[in-house]
C-alpha cells in the first residue's frame, strides 16, 4: 500500500458559559458558591486595578502599561487552579493572573512605575518575574517543571503567553522538550487575536493554535477565554494531569485584547472600532454576573460591596506604591552578582561619590 493516512486529529472546543451567561450543567466545574465568588471578586479587582493603572499612566505616575481588560476570565480562571507549590511564569500582560495568585498589588504597580523591587516577590509566592522578550519564559517553565520531575515533587508549572509568542522558537522548542520529557507544564496561550498590529490570522496559517500541541505529542484544547468556568476546568484538569505525571497540555484561551497593546500604542491605526465594540460587549464579567444572578449569588448589596472593596484595595495599593521610599542608587550594583566583585565595588563607590549628599545611603 504505497499511500496511507498515518494520522488524523481533532481539536476540541470547550465552552461552559455561553455569551448570555447560560451554563451547560453537565460541564460546570465542581465549584461552590464561595469559590465562584472568589473568581468574581478577583476579576472585579483586576478590572479596577487595570483601569487605575491606565489612569496613573495618563497622569505620569506609571510608565508604559499593558492593559488586561477583556482577558480577566482567562487569567483569573487559570491562575485560580494553581496550588501553592506550583509555579507561574507570566508574560507582561498577566496582572490579573498575578492578582489571582496573591501578588501584592503595590508590587505590580511598582514594577510598571519603573522599580525593580516590584519583582522582589515574597518568598512564599512562586511567581516568576514577567518576561518582556516575547515567549522567552516558556523554556524557564520547562526547566522548573523538569526540576519538579527530577525531584519527584507533585508540582506543575503554568506558563502564560499570547498568540504572537506561538511564532517564537522559544515557545516551540519548549513545547518540544515538554513533550519529549513528559514534563509537568501547562502552556496557557491567550489568543487575544492581536500581537500589537498583527492579527492572529497573519501569525499562523493554522486554523487553531491549540493544534500545535499535537505535533509535539501532547493534547491541545481551545477554550472560550471569556468563560471563566471553561478556563478553570481546562486548566484544573491540565494541572492535575501534569502533577500526576501524565505530561504537558496546551490550552488556547480564545479571547480578545480590548485595549491598545500598551499605553504607547494606538490600535485605531490597524483595527476597526466595530470589532473592538463587539468584543467589549462579550465582557467576561457580564457573563459571570448573569450566571451568578440566575443562581442567586449576586444581589445588589453583595455586588456593591465587591466593587467598593476592590476600589478600596486598589487605592490603598496606589498609596503604598507611592509611599515606597525611593530605591537606593547602590541597588543597581548590589544584585548583579551574589557578591559585589571589585570592579563593581569601584563603580558603585564612584557613583555614590558623584552623587555626594544626594545619593542617600548606599
Amino acid at each position: 500500500m504505497p499511500r496511507a493516512v498515518l494520522g488524523t486529529f481533532a481539536v476540541e472546543w470547550l465552552q461552559v458559559l455561553d455569551e448570555r451567561g447560560k451554563a451547560d450543567p453537565g460541564l460546570l466545574p465542581p465549584l461552590g458558591e464561595r469559590e465562584v465568588k472568589d473568581l468574581y471578586e478577583l476579576m472585579a479587582i483586576s478590572r479596577v486595578f487595570d483601569e487605575q493603572c491606565l489612569t496613573l499612566q495618563r497622569e505620569g505616575r506609571l510608565g508604559t502599561y499593558a492593559a488586561v481588560r477583556g482577558q480577566e476570565a482567562a487569567q483569573v480562571g487559570s491562575a485560580y487552579a494553581l496550588q501553592q507549590q506550583d509555579w507561574l511564569f507570566p508574560s507582561f500582560r498577566e496582572n490579573a493572573a498575578l492578582i489571582a495568585r496573591h501578588q501584592p498589588l503595590e508590587m505590580l504597580m511598582a514594577y510598571w512605575a519603573g522599580d525593580e523591587r516590584g519583582q522582589q516577590v515574597p518568598a512564599s509566592l512562586n511567581n516568576f518575574p514577567v518576561a518582556i522578550p516575547v515567549g522567552t519564559q516558556a523554556p524557564h517553565a520547562v526547566g522548573a517543571a523538569w526540576a519538579f520531575q527530577i525531584r519527584k515533587e507533585k508540582a506543575a508549572a503554568l506558563v502564560y503567553f499570547g498568540d504572537g509568542a506561538t511564532s517564537k522558537g522559544d515557545v516551540l522548542e519548549a513545547m518540544n522538550f515538554a513533550g519529549v520529557f513528559k514534563l509537568p507544564v501547562v502552556f496557557f496561550c491567550q489568543n487575544n487575536q492581536w500581537a500589537i498590529s498583527l492579527p492572529a490570522g497573519k501569525q499562523t496559517a493554522a486554523q487553531t493554535l491549540a493544534q500545535k500541541a499535537i505535533a509535539f505529542g501532547f493534547p491541545g484544547i481551545r477554550v472560550d477565554g471569556n468563560d471563566v468556568f471553561a478556563v478553570y476546568l481546562a486548566t484544573h484538569d491540565a494541572l492535575e494531569r501534569a502533577r500526576s505525571g501524565e505530561g504537558p497540555t496546551f490550552i488556547e484561551a480564545f479571547t480578545y485584547r480590548v485595549e491598545h497593546h500598551t499605553t504607547s500604542d494606538d490600535s485605531s491605526r490597524y483595527r476597526a472600532k466595530a470589532e473592538v465594540d463587539l468584543w467589549r460587549a462579550k465582557d467576561p464579567l457580564l457573563r459571570l454576573e448573569a450566571w451568578m444572578e440566575g443562581k442567586g449569588f449576586l444581589d445588589k448589596a453583595y455586588r456593591e460591596t465587591v466593587w467598593a472593596e476592590a476600589r478600596k484595595r486598589v487605592q490603598e495599593a496606589v498609596e503604598k506604591m507611592e509611599q515606597l521610599p525611593p530605591p537606593k542608587p547602590g541597588d543597581i550594583f548590589d544584585y548583579v552578582f551574589a557578591q559585589l566583585p571589585p570592579h563593581l565595588q569601584e563603580q558603585k563607590a564612584s557613583l555614590l561619590r558623584e552623587l555626594g549628599g544626594q545619593g542617600g545611603q548606599a
Partner: protein, 322 residues
C-alpha cells in the same frame, strides 16, 4: 596526581561535583549515551542516572530550561556542542540568565553553567572555531571563564558549578587532548575572578587566556627577555589588580587574544592599563590578535590564529620602544 588531558580532567570534575551535590544535573545534545561529541561527559549517565539528559537539538531551550532549573533549585550544567551554536542561546543568556538576580532584586537566582568547546585550531568545519568571548564578557551579570590547562580546567569547572552566579565556561578545544599534565585526584576549586601568574619575569608582561596560553608561553620561553606570563582564567570579571601589579613591575604589556582585533578583551585590558597604569607604561600595549575577519576555514586558519612567532615579535616591539 594522575596525568590527564583536559577532557579527562573536566570529566573528573563532573564526577566529583555530581557526587558532592545531587542538585547538579547535566543537559545538552549528545551528552548522555554518547558522552558528548568530545567525550567530556563520558560515563556520567551511567554513574548518575536520572541526572544526565540528552536533549532535542535546540540551543535556546537548552539554556532557557537551565535558567528555569536553576531558579527552581537545581545546579544545571548545560553543554552547547560548539561555539558557533551558542549564539542561538544569546537571548536567554543576556535577557535572563545574566539578569534574573538583578531584575528580581535577589528573589530568584540563576546558578547555572553553560559549557561550550571554544576557539579554533583543529581544522573544524565552519562555525566550529569561533572566539567570541568578548561578546559574552560585555554582558553584566555573566561570569566568563576560559581554562588553559587540564588541572586549571578541573578546578575552574568545580568552581563554576559551585558558583551562585551564571557562568559561561568556554573550553579551548585545541587544548582538549593536546596537553597532558599531572592533575590532583582530590576535588579542588580555583576561585573565579582571579588570574594567575604562570611564569614570573621582570621585562615584559604577556597576558593570555584559554588556548592562547600555549603560544604565549612558547614565545616567553624563546625570548631573550624576562617575560612574566599571566593566565586570566576568568575573562570577566577581569582581574585588573593582577595585571596592574605585573605591569607596574615590567612597564610593558603584550596581550594575546585569539578573537578579532577590535572591541576585544585585549582592548579592555589596554584601556584598564591606560586608565590605571599609564605612568608605569614604558611602551604602547601590544595586541597580538586575529584580524577583524570571520574565522577562516581550515586552509587559511593558520593566518588567523596568533602564533608563538607573532607573540615573539610583539615582545620584541614592546621591548624596543623607547
Amino acid at each position: 596526581m594522575t596525568e590527564m588531558t583536559m577532557v579527562a580532567a573536566l570529566n573528573a570534575a563532573f564526577r566529583q561535583e555530581m557526587a558532592r551535590d545531587e542538585r547538579v544535573v547535566v543537559l545538552g545534545e549528545d551528552v548522555g549515551v554518547n558522552g558528548g561529541v568530545f567525550r567530556v561527559t563520558d560515563g556520567l549517565l551511567r554513574m548518575f542516572p536520572g541526572r544526565v539528559f540528552d536533549t532535542p537539538l535546540a540551543e535556546t531551550c537548552i539554556v532557557g530550561a537551565a535558567v528555569g532549573m536553576a531558579a527552581a533549585g537545581l545546579r544545571p550544567v548545560a553543554e552547547i556542542q560548539f561555539d558557533g551554536f551558542l549564539t542561538a542561546a544569546f537571548d536567554q543568556l543576556v535577557s535572563h540568565a545574566a539578569r534574573l538576580r538583578n531584575r528580581s532584586r535577589g528573589r530568584f537566582t540563576c546558578p547555572l553553567v553553560v559549557r561550550a568547546p571554544f576557539t579554533g585550531g583543529i581544522h573544524a568545519p565552519e562555525h566550529h572555531s569561533e572566539s567570541m568571548e568578548a561578546s559574552y564578557a560585555h554582558i553584566p551579570g555573566l561570569v566568563v571563564v576560559m581554562p588553559s590547562t587540564p588541572s586549571e580546567a578541573k578546578g575552574l569547572l568545580a568552581a563554576a558549578i559551585r558558583s551562585p552566579d551564571p557562568v559561561l565556561f568556554l573550553e579551548p578545544k585545541k587544548v582538549y587532548r593536546a596537553i597532558k599534565e599531572d592533575v590532583r585526584e582530590e576535588e579542588y576549586a580555583i576561585p573565579l575572578g582571579k588570574a594567575r601568574v604562570v611564569q614570573e619575569g621582570t621585562d615584559v608582561t604577556v597576558i593570555a587566556w584559554g588556548a592562547m596560553l600555549v603560544p604565549a608561553l612558547q614565545a616567553a620561553g624563546r625570548s631573550s627577555y624576562s617575560c612574566e606570563v599571566i593566565d586570566l582564567r576568568t575573562v570577566s570579571p577581569l582581574d585588573v589588580p593582577c595585571i596592574l601589579q605585573s605591569v607596574e613591575k615590567t612597564g610593558r604589556a603584550v596581550v594575546v587574544q585569539e578573537g578579532p582585533h577590535s572591541f576585544g578583551v585585549g582592548a579592555e585590558i589596554a584601556a584598564q592599563l591606560a586608565e590605571k597604569g599609564i605612568l608605569h607604561l614604558e611602551a604602547p600595549v601590544e595586541r597580538v590578535t586575529a584580524p577583524d575577519v570571520p574565522t577562516p576555514l581550515a586552509k587559511l586558519e593558520g593566518l588567523y590564529l596568533p602564533s608563538a612567532e607573532r607573540v615573539g615579535k610583539a615582545i620584541e616591539r614592546a621591548m624596543a620602544f623607547r
